[in-house]
Symmetry: C2
Subunit: 566 residues, 2 copies
Amino acid sequence: MPYRAPVSEFGFLLDHVVGFSAVQQTERFAEATDDTVLAVLTEAGKMCDEVLAPLQRNGDLHPAVLENGVVRASPGYAEGYNAIAEGGWVAITADPEHGGMGLPLTVATAVNEMMSGACLSLQLNPLLTQGQIEALEHHADDAMRALYLPKLISGEWSGTMNLTEPQAGSDVGALSSKAEPKDDGTYAITGQKIYISWGDTDFVDNVCHLVLARLPDAAPGTKGISLFMVPKYIPDADGNPGVANSLRVVSLEHKMGLHGSPTCVMSYEGATGWIVGEPGGGMKAMFTMMNNARLGVGGQGVGAAEGAYQLALAFAGERKQGKTPEGTIIGHADVRRMLATMKADVFTARAIALDCAVAIDMGRATGEPEWQARAAFLTPIAKAFGTDTGCAVSEMGVQVHGGMGYVEETGAAQYYRDVRVTAIYEGTNGIQAMDMVGRKLMDGGEAANRLLDEIEAFADTAKTTLPDLAEAVWDAAESLRETTDWLVAQPMADRFGTAVPYLRAFARVLGGHYHLRAAMADPEGAHGRLARFYITRMLPEHAGLLAHVRAGGEGLMEISPDDLAA
Amino acid sequence: MPYRAPVSEFGFLLDHVVGFSAVQQTERFAEATDDTVLAVLTEAGKMCDEVLAPLQRNGDLHPAVLENGVVRASPGYAEGYNAIAEGGWVAITADPEHGGMGLPLTVATAVNEMMSGACLSLQLNPLLTQGQIEALEHHADDAMRALYLPKLISGEWSGTMNLTEPQAGSDVGALSSKAEPKDDGTYAITGQKIYISWGDTDFVDNVCHLVLARLPDAAPGTKGISLFMVPKYIPDADGNPGVANSLRVVSLEHKMGLHGSPTCVMSYEGATGWIVGEPGGGMKAMFTMMNNARLGVGGQGVGAAEGAYQLALAFAGERKQGKTPEGTIIGHADVRRMLATMKADVFTARAIALDCAVAIDMGRATGEPEWQARAAFLTPIAKAFGTDTGCAVSEMGVQVHGGMGYVEETGAAQYYRDVRVTAIYEGTNGIQAMDMVGRKLMDGGEAANRLLDEIEAFADTAKTTLPDLAEAVWDAAESLRETTDWLVAQPMADRFGTAVPYLRAFARVLGGHYHLRAAMADPEGAHGRLARFYITRMLPEHAGLLAHVRAGGEGLMEISPDDLAA
C-alpha cells in the first residue's frame, strides 16, 4: 500500500478552512502552537506511513482468529499497536493528569484519520479506547479513574463498548443483560453482547469492557440502563491484571471486510463489574463515549477514502491504456473526473470532521453553548457524510482500477469492503440523520441557521474575487435555509423519512463553503481548481436532495408494506 | 435465499410500459403471443425459484477451483446448469434452424434477469454462450454454424469470449495474441488472455473460446484484429469432442465476489483455431457478441438488484426493532424510504432493459433504421444504469440489514460483492457513457430527441389525469433536450469528461417516463404510488447531473495530474 499521510493538507485545512487558530487562542489549548501541531502530525504521519500502512493487507489476508477462547491478532498488529501506544497516539486528547497529552480533539481527529487511512482495522482498537477514556473521565469516580485511565492512555490496556444484543441493535433500550448487586459493592453481570469490536486481543495486558446492563427492577427502555466496567482480568491490589473474570468470547463474526478487527460475540456469566456513574445513567455515559466515537468513525470514513484515493491515483498514473498525453489512463477524461470527484469529497468530508472537532474543542475550552450546539449539529453530519464518502470514494477507486479493482491483489477491493461497516456501526447513517432532524433541529433550526449565516457571510466577502463560485455557494445555502425552515415546521414523525437526503444536502452545502474558503486562500492553485470542480459539478446535487426533502415524509408512508411486496 | 421470480411484474411492464405488443404484431415474432410469453416466463421463473436460487450461496461458500488444470464448478452448479439447458433457457432467441426457440430478445431479457436474480455467478455462463451464438449466427460460415450452434443452443457446450490481455483491457486494440495460418486452413493461436469468465468448467462437454488475435502483418490497432473459434476439444469427424487443444487454464483470479464464476487466465500455445468472419473483421464480430452481452449484463445488474431487494424486504418485515405500527423495522420511515428507493430503481432499470430489447426485436423484425438507432442508443444506458442500480440497490440492501448486512451469513453482502463486477466487465460503465456521447450522438442527437419527443408526448396525454407528475416528467425531458442539443455542439473530446453524468441523467428521465406510464395504467395502485415516489423524490436528481454536464468537459481537464497529487 502506497499510503502517505496528508500532513500538509491538514495544515492547509487548519490554517485556511476550519479556523483552528480560535482553538489555539484559548487558554486551555494555548500549548497547541503551530510548531507543536506540525510536529505531532509529522511524527504521527511518519508512523502511519512506515509502520501501519504495511499492515493493511495483513489483516485481510490473515484475519484475527479465536483460538482456545483467546483472540490472536493478525500478523504484525502487535508491533503496529505498540508503535501507536509508544508514540502516545492512543489518547492524545486525554488529561495530562493521567498521562495524556491534553491536545485538542482537532489534532486527534487528524491523527485518527491518518491511522485509519493506513490501517483501518487496527486503528479501530485505539479509537474505542479513546471513547472509553472519555466516558471514564466524565463519569467514573476518582478511584476508577486512577486505576484505569493511566493504563488505557498508555495503551497497556484497551477498551471496548458493549451495547448491542441480538434483539437490541439500533433500539438500545431493548437490551436485557442483567447486573445483580453484590455485597461488596460490585455487580454480577450476565448477558450476551454481539458485534463487540476488538472484544479481545493478545497484544494488550487487559481488555476493559464497558457494558450496558439493567439493575434489578430497573425501568423499562433506556432509562433503566446502567453502565458497568467489566475487565477481562480483575485488577489486583496493585492495579495489575489479576484473576480472570467470568466472561468469554463465544465466537467471531464472519464479515465482508475489516477482517483484522475481531468482531466478537461476548458472554458475561456473572462477571464482576463496577458501576460507572449513577444507576440508570448508562445511556448518558454511553452517549459521551458515542459522541466522541461518532466523529471518530466519520474520520475512519475519511481516512479510508484518502487511502483508496491514493491507491487509485497511483494506479491511474501507472496504467497504460489508450492514447493520452500522459501515456497513462490519468489522461482519460472520465478517469480524471473520477479522481477529481474522489479528491473533492475527501476534502469535504475531512473539512466537516475538522470543523466539528474545532467546535468540540471550543465548546470545551469556552463552555459557550453556541459552540456546543454547533458541535452537536455537525457530529451526525461528520459521521454519516464521512463514512458515506468512505464508501463512495472506495467504490470509485475500484472503478478506476477497472478489472484489477475486482481482483483482491490490488487492495482496491479491500478498502471498499473494509469501510462499508463504518456506515452501519456507531449508529447507522440513517440514525445519524434522524438525530439531525430530530434532536438537532429541536432548537427551531437555530444552530443550522447560524452555520448558514456564516456560509452566506463568507460567500459575500468572496463575491469580488470569485463571483460565480461565491454566488453558487450563497444560493445553495439560501435554498438549504428555506428547506430547513420548512422542515422545522413539520411534525417530527414526518421529518424522519427525508432525514437522509436532508443530511446529505447539508453536507453538500458545507462542502461548497469549505471549498470556497480553500479557493480564496489558494485561488490560482490546486485548491482553487478543485473548488471550481466541486462547486460547479458536485454542489448542484443539493437541489435534487432538497426536492426530495420537500416532497415530505408524509407521502412516503403512503407506500405500504403491501405495495413494496407487490 | 427467498428469491421469487417477478413474473407478474414482467407482464405488467410488457403490457403497459414498454409496448411489447408492437413486437408481437410483427411477422417474425407472431408466435410470441401473450399466452406463450406467460407460459415461458412462468416456467423459467419456477426453475429460478426452485433450482437456481438455492445455489446462490454455494458459489460464494465453495468457489470454483482449478484442480489439475481443470475447473471444478461449485457444488450443485452442474445440476443447476442442466436445468437451464434442459429447459431450453440457454438460448431462447436462437434460430429454430439450429434448435433455438426463435423467441424475442425481450423475453430472453426477462428470463436472463430472473436467472441472474436467482444465481448470478451461474447465469453468467449461459449469458456468454448466448453472445457466442449471436456472433456465430451472424459471422460464421455454414459449416461452423452447423457444427457449433446445435451444441451451444442445447447447452451441451458452452462459449466464452477472449478479448482482454494484461496490457489490453479497455484498449482492445493493444492486444498481441497471434494467429499463424496453417496449411490446412486453420490457424495456430498463441497468447495469454485474462479475465476469461467461465474459461473452463466440468459440467459441459466442450468449452468454445472465441479469441481475438492478430494475423501476421496485420494492421496495428483494432483494424488488425481477427476472431477465431478455439475449442477446448477439437471436434472429430462426427462433431463430437475429440483431441484436446493446445490451451490451458493457467490460474483463477481471487476476486471480491462472484466466486461461483471462475475467472481464468488462459494460455493458448499454438492452439488450433478457425477464423470467424473475415480477416481483420474481429472487432465487428466481437461487437455483435458484445452488444448482446451489454444488454445481458445490464440485466444482470437488474436481477441482482431484485434479489437484494427481496432479501432486504423480507428482513425488514421480520426484524423487530423499536416501536412501529407493523412491529418490524418496515414501519420506520427511513427503512421505508430505502426499500421504496430500491424498488423504484429496480423498476426503472428493468424498464430500460426491456425497452432496449423491444427496440432490438423491432429492429430485427422490421429492419427499420429508427428502431435500430433506438436500440443502439439505449444499449449503453441499459448496461450502465442496470449495473449501477445493481450496485446501489445491493448497497442499500446491506444498509437495511444494519449490522447483519455486514455479516456474510445473511447473504446481503454477497449481492453487494457479486454484482460489483458488472459495472466493470463488458466495457466499464465509463466506456458505456463514452459510447453514448460519442457514437450514439453522432447522428446529431436524432435518436435522443426521438426518445424525448416520445416522453413529452406521453406526458402531454397524461396531464389531465396526473397533472403534477406529468408536468415534472415533461420538464425534465425538456431540460435533458436542451442539454443534449448543447452537448452535441461540443467537440467530441470535451464530451467524454461529462459522459457519465449525462448517461445517468438520461436514465433518470427515462425512469420518469416509465413510471408515469405505469402510473397511468395503475393510478390508484402500487405502481401509481411508486411512480409518485420516484417522480417527486428521485427524478429531481437529473437537475444536478445536467448541471455537471453543462459545466463542460474542458474545465475538467484543468485539474492536472499534479493537482490531483497535491
